[in-house]
Amino acid sequence: MAGSVIRRIVIVGGGSAGWMAAAALAAVVRRRVEEIVLVESSQIGTIGVGEATLPTLRAFNGSLGLDEIEFIRNTQATFKLGIEFVGWNPERAFFHGFSDFGPDLRGVSPHQAWLRMRAAGDDRSYCGYSISTLAAQLGRFAPPIPNRDSVLGSYSYAFQFDAASYAAYLRAFAEQRGVRRVEGRIVDVRLRAEDGFIESVVLEGGRSVSGDLFIDCSGFVGLLIERALQAGFEDWSKWLPCDRAFAVPCARTGEPTPFTRSTAHQAGWQWRIPLQHRTGNGYVFCSSYISEDEAAATLLANLDGAALGAPRLIKFTAGRRRECWKRNCVALGLASGFLEPLESTSIHLVESGIGRLIELFPDRGFEPKLAEEYNRLMARSYESIRDFIILHYWASGRDGELWRYYRNMPIPDGLRHQIELFKASGTVALYDSGAFAEPSWISIYFGLGIFPRRHDPMADVIDEAALRRELERRARIVTGAAQSLPTHRAFIDKYCRASG
């Protein structure tokens, strides 16, 4: 059947992943396929608890042609300049922002120049060169100007939004473009006898929905990819043992911060994601080190405002599906794997999965090489993010039983090599397809107090007095730029306040 185009796409599950896929496919391939169907059951809740994202979401929304202001108003979104990590380094909080530390100085990375001046006795914090960090600390935000050479054009931003509203917003978008929503709970998946491809999904009541390409967005259970096709799961819990989370929204108190906060606790960490109308919170924990009751109590004791409901428990295992694409089924979102939301990568992984599916779009022949290439690329994305998250735990100086486990566990070879290189030279070894670039790795290393044994000898080539003057000049410019921005609240009120 090579050369025969896909006629029907069936998306299973209507959380953020499902409706993101529906919206993107509606925007890109709808004209070329007969029908796109999304099956969801309103009885099954979605995980969506208030999501923080990466700046890549803006490109995804842009590719759909979404109006940013309208998107923000519809999803109660706030702007995000990065993540503040509290308690991860017992000595001080630190920030991972969506900006770098300035341009190279005569071919030398700015963090190396800073290390050199620090070795010479200067005590300015490296954060002073990060516009996103300073703006976040001041609670300020405005979108960057379209000039990469200016400090005010050198940062990026993402959103913190209500995932359920995002799904609803994308649903309206997709339905307007012809995606058909089918309400119903799936009770069976029928496979073709000859090749094991999915033929149809059977709904409660006996109706069935058939298709050529199935997209499994059914969440952790992996209704199609795992239950029906047994794609297998690579378990990463030896590196990422957290296996539960309690989530609860609370009333907002004070101004919404233009950043997500992650606070380390005894048996995991707590997220705080400010939206326009409320604040999302959750405690990601390891059930071997704390009881569920204690975890829920810890979460409730650490909210800034009154809890809006009872904490909801979510169970998971860190890892990835061995084959995210198997036969005629592509898994997206939690059905494809799970990495705790420490770096807000869940939606990003959905975006990249959708992007690659479109690039490698199959026909009814479902050439297995397409799936192989897709799986190769997704595996690399998952692994690079996994390693980045492991670094946070492994390098934390926090005390406690779980934290000692992290510190002493064997880590993946690639990550070990990266850490050794950084300690030896301050160089960040980047792997392909990494979601996080050099400044991100440096933020975590420095933030957790990992400094190289020595700075780049190339930094010694620059005249010391000239280097000091240049760094002082930069710090002044960055501080001035951050102070010139409006407050986050003022910006939202002026341009994009949600009505509800």
Binding site: A2, G3, V5, I6, V28, V29, R32, G107, L115, R116, R118, A119, A120, I358, E359, L360, F361, P362, D363, G365, E367, K369, L370, E372, E373, R376, G397, H417, E420, L421, K423, A424, S425, T427, A429, Y431, D432, L448, G449, I450, F451, P452, R453, R454, H455, D456, P457, M458, D460, V461
Partner: protein, 508 residues
């Protein structure tokens, strides 16, 4: 947690470059440019030992290297009798009588490679093929013998896609860089190395010269060519042998008089037991026959090369033997190998000088101090191995995808297995049309497409992306693009006119 390093009291005080061929003097020039007078840089070479100096064609990273050095283009071309190069013409590689061009730079204008490729392949399948090189500004310019400077200040010009490298006289190039480096403080030492002293930690301590002098340094860069006298002879670093995939192990090179104006591209002609290069310079043409000694003797190769020259030979033919592969580690302790000492990949895609350059760039980004921390060399070696393997695979494809069966050599190539990484790429392409990029690729999708198409390797599947992304105006858009390419290239001067303008231009 480790302590924050103090300003290193362990910075390199001295660097010694071993060998003064192209690699050695490139290294000396770049080091002195970047390090200034922070560090004493010396180069030891012997006039009795010749250099290989046949790597005379380059790829477009060389202009960037000259940008780093601050070298004036006209001065460089005058000194090296160089010409411009827009790509490589491959003759008789698919079958005898067929040729194709591998131009530098992308195909199309303001279009992703994926969409361009899908569209071009679709038109071909529909029975309307068009020459691939006509979709590349650089390719069309090469075909028409035109060259010009990319108009950096005009972002809307299609000529910004123009990408060029050079053909140069490697001996003159080494001399040019030597003058540059010596002028900036590099000390040249004439002498023949007779021994390498290793300290108890296994680090290089010093080199002993024939006249009894001993040369010590904190760091050594082995540019001694195939001999690899520090990295291999003294440090016993092994070699990864790739001759099962790249069977050519000999070359004979000769210069000849030029017949006609130099073309702005290298020519590579497949012969019975290998291939022949032709590199046009201002004053002569460089030629060579890269062959497999299992299929042809050196005498036969020499005779065959001489009878194929377009003009009278200007030198005695020189023979080389080599083995395709790479050093298992190019950086060991306080010794880094660059150039032929680091590995050998035949000059089929003119990568020798490029690999020296990237080796230098990598050295600057992972610059050592006297401690030479093994974590740093481990990263250097990891990246180098990946880079060599990617280039290796691209070279192997030239042989593995040829349809020639007219000699034992070509039958051997057709029958040989290829590395898994290449097998994956080729199968992915033939089955899906997708060009996979692995970690650390030198050659981008446009180059892979040039080669696949030139060797008639076609995808079995029509990529739906072109249907998906395409509006009805796709054909109009592409025809418009082709017209813009044609008109833009038409404004370029002839190669010799442009070359003359550049070499007579006062330094800028």
């Amino acid at each position: 947690m480790s302590e924050l390093g103090q300003r290193s009291p362990h910075g390199l005080r001295s660097l010694l470059i071993v060998g003064g061929g192209t690699a050695g003097w490139m290294t000396a020039a770049a080091l002195t440019r970047v390090l200034g007078r922070c560090c004493e840089i010396s180069l030891v070479e012997s006039e009795v030992i010749g250099t290989v100096g046949v790597g005379e064609a380059t790829i477009p990273s060389l202009p960037a290297f000259h940008g780093l050095l601050g070298v004036d283009e006209g001065e460089f071309l005058r000194a090296t009798r160089g010409t411009f190069k827009l790509g490589i013409q491959f003759r008789d590689w698919h079958t005898v009588g067929e040729s194709f061009l591998h131009p530098f730079g992308p195909y199309g204008i303001n279009v992703s490679h994926e969409l361009f490729q899908a569209y071009w392949l679709k038109r071909r399948r529909e029975g309307s093929p068009s020459p691939l090189e006509e979709w590349s500004v650089t390719g069309l310019a090469a075909t028409l013998g035109r060259v010009g400077s990319p108009p950096l200040k005009d972002p809307s010009s299609a000529l910004r896609q123009l990408s060029y490298a050079y053909h140069l006289d490697a001996t003159l190039y080494a001399r040019f860089l030597r003058a540059y480096a010596e002028g900036r403080g590099v000390r040249r030492i004439e002498g023949e190395i007779v021994d390498v002293r290793i300290d108890p930690r296994g680090r290089v301590d010093s080199l002993l010269l024939r006249d009894g002098r001993s040369m010590g340094a904190d760091f050594f860069i082995d540019c001694s060519g195939f001999r690899a006298l520090v990295i291999a002879e003294a440090l016993k670093t092994g070699y990864v042998d790739w001759s099962e995939w790249l069977p050519c192990d000999g070359a004979v090179a000769v210069q000849c008089e030029t017949a006609g104006d130099p073309v702005p591209f290298t020519q590579s002609t497949a012969l019975d037991a290998g291939w022949q290069w032709r590199i046009p310079l201002q004053h002569r043409v460089g030629n060579g026959y890269v062959y497999s000694s299992a299929h042809l003797s050196n005498d036969e190769a020499t005779a065959r090369l001489l009878e194929r020259l377009e003009g009278a030979p200007l030198s005695d033919p020189r023979s080389l033997r080599f083995k395709a592969g790479r050093r298992t580690s190019v950086w060991v302790g306080n010794c880094l190998a660059l150039g032929l000492a680091a590995g050998f990949l035949e000059p089929l895609e003119s990568t020798s000088i490029h690999l020296v350059q990237t080796g230098l760039a990598r050295l600057f980004s992972l610059f050592p101090d006297r401690e030479c921390d093994p974590a740093i060399s481990a990263e250097y070696n990891r990246l180098t191995a990946l880079e060599y393997e990617r280039v290796r695979d691209f070279l192997i494809l030239h042989y593995a995808a040829s349809q020639r069966e007219d000699s034992a050599f070509w039958r051997h190539c057709r029958a040989m297995a290829v590395p898994e990484t290449l097998a994956y790429k080729k199968e992915l392409f033939t089955r899906t049309g997708r060009i996979a990029l692995l970690e650390h690729e030198t050659f981008q999708p446009a180059s892979w497409l040039a080669l696949y198409a030139g060797l008639h390797v076609w995808p079995e599947r029509h990529e739906p992306i072109v249907e998906i992304l395409a509006g009805g105006d796709l054909k109009a858009r592409f025809e418009g693009m082709r017209e813009v390419i044609r008109k833009s290239v038409d404004t370029l001067p002839a190669h010799t006119t442009f070359l003359n303008e550049i070499v007579t231009r006062p330094p800028q």
